[in-house]
Symmetry: C2
Subunit: 365 residues, 2 copies
């Protein structure tokens, strides 16, 4: 099992300024590299405290690249619907070069009606723009004088600059919220996978991961495919503190998500079946149930170790957990301490036997 660090800022400007959030997060990026985490990852959202401190993952990861030299940098995810593929492919290729080939690109469809409306993009086009975005970026990265003839975008012959550092292109991950079909499609295409367990059932997640692995194997792609699974993790020597933090921050996350998805109450899209119930789901959120159900990691070292063991058992050990340690308004010191505890005392229990170079305990993530 591998472990990375995830950033999904759910932050009220009145409680933590953007400058402070970035300062703290970039310190955590440096700490993540020094502790041996596999990647740092950041989301793309607009226009509200729900992720809105990260409208441009490339900007954050370019700063992260300048502060580090080994850790991988992942978008989780970029939204091709909101950026023209000529720009998106070029920005990501720049980041791949700025980081000397450390980029992993997660692509997402987006799901907030307010974001589509702000960009003047019909939400019904979200799948077409997602699929074309991936196809166009891969084409621009892989060849020269690219001609692209999609339903939304048509361009070329056009050569993308700069060429990506990784050849033929950076690894492509598909971010899938809850659809076994799109996981299977990602597997058939030979892409890697990002999933978010908090928005699906455990059986649903097993089906998604299994569907992905099977489709990928049947299509004959080499390797098993990399799977990043996103959790928030509250870890402390003080059990009461970890659980109190978890309850408060998860409550804040859910409240902000409920606001962000509120426009689903008066939006219907055949592309997003059932999303009109999203706000109801958010409102009926119960922290204790979520914790018991393995949707969030929280507690002391032995507890979190057990929670991770359960994940390995349910979904297989061949995963990379992308862990958010500084959600919302958590003080920097608590996030840093949790990262240290996890790297030093939880991760080593799940080290891959194949890990080539023996590392000191704290770095054996």
């Amino acid at each position: 099992m591998e472990f990375g660090v995830n950033f999904f800022p759910v932050v009220d400007p009145e409680r933590k300024s953007a400058a402070q959030y970035y300062d703290e997060s970039l310190r955590l990026v440096e700490l993540a590299e020094s502790l041996g985490y596999e990647h740092v990852q950041i989301v793309e959202h607009y226009g509200s405290p729900y992720g809105g401190y990260s409208p441009d993952p490339v900007a954050f990861l370019s700063a992260a690249a300048a502060r580090t030299s080994r850790i991988r940098l992942a978008t989780g995810a970029v939204i091709a619907a909101f950026t023209h593929p000529v720009k998106l492919a070029a920005s990501l290729a720049m980041l791949d070069n700025l980081s000397h080939g450390r980029l992993d690109v997660g692509f997402g469809r987006a799901f907030l009606p307010d974001e589509f409306e702000a960009f003047g993009v019909p939400i019904e086009q979200s799948r077409a723009r997602f699929e074309e975005g991936i196809a166009a970026c891969v084409a621009l990265w892989s060849g020269e004088r690219t001609v692209f003839e999609g339903a939304v975008h048509r361009f070329g012959p056009f050569t993308g600059y700069p060429r990506p550092y990784q050849q033929p292109h950076p690894p492509v991950f598909v971010a899938s919220a809850s659809s076994p079909e799109s996981c299977a499609a990602a597997g058939r295409a030979g892409h890697h996978l990002q999933v978010v367990p908090s928005v699906t059932t455990r059986q649903g997640l097993r089906d998604m991961i299994e569907g992905y692995r099977q489709a990928r194997a049947e299509a004959g792609h080499p390797g098993a495919g990399r799977i990043q699974v996103k959790y928030t993790c509250y870890l402390s020597e003080d059990r009461g503190l970890a659980l109190a933090d978890a309850r408060a921050q998860e409550g804040n996350y859910v409240a902000r998500m409920a606001e962000a998805v509120s426009s689903w109450a008066h939006t219907r899209s055949s592309q997003y079946p059932g999303y009109e119930k999203f706000a109801d789901k958010a409102r009926s959120y119960d922290f204790d149930r979520a914790l018991a159900d393995g949707k969030v990691l929280a507690g002391t070292v032995p507890e979190v170790r057990e929670q991770v063991a359960r994940i390995a058992e349910e979904y297989g050990p061949d995963l990379c957990l992308s862990l958010q340690f500084n959600p919302g308004h958590l003080p920097y010191e608590r996030a840093a301490r949790a990262m240290e505890l996890f790297a030093g005392q939880v991760a080593p229990a799940f080290a891959r036997p194949s890990a080539a170079v023996p590392q000191p305990a704290a770095a054996a993530v």
Copy 2:
């Protein structure tokens, strides 16, 4: 007079990789800060060696922000026609926070038909998209629940996240290639100005700067407005080396520009009168004439000092020269040495008497 460092990569991938170009340029950014330069600045271009290593100024400047703490970071310029203003305003606000308020935003119209074609944007919309892009970004930065009703973009009520660090918003510069009218418009609007002397006559540049200053004063905006003027600078103790570098690199620049503008030969736009002759102009370029005409700075310390004195005399001393020291394929060491010589032996002759804090000689830029 103030001095900054400008990056306009005209680089063949076969001669210098993008990763090497960024590595060297970020080292020069750190050097620029240590030598006391006022800003670093980078362009936005796509799809060819003519600027194509910088499709995303925010990515480069975010890395630069992570490596520095005082120097200002300028886009020179971002192209609003190619990025939706909701994304552009948010990316720039992120950079403003990543850098703790060190961002200056230059907006440009773009002028390469191939770029407009790749983005599927009619070149006839370039002015509308430029003007709307500035207006929409300023509106998103300055207020909440912004409603924008433009000819191209309509959105809102929408609140941009994050809020910019600088209040009400980062300084706005208008990048103007050759039009006194657009300089006057920039002055009336209270914006700052970026100009490129290499593409206009000296009289033309005087008219542009004078028109800007007059319009700005008449409109009653406080202060004189900041004017950034872009030159490439080849400076060495060895006169022959400086001039040989200048001749070779300027030749490369003009050849790559000629390719990039070649589609003007079969493009006509009422929005770009005379641009169909751009390729001819590029082909008739003569280095010795350009040097004699003050379009490029090159030579030893006394020569470049004299060239800068002439600029101060012709356009007024109240300028910021944005100097490119590493065009095209120049080795890092030569660019770094030129920056040191300029900061140590040219800039002090033009120090503002109002400079508040005395600096050691090498830092008195």
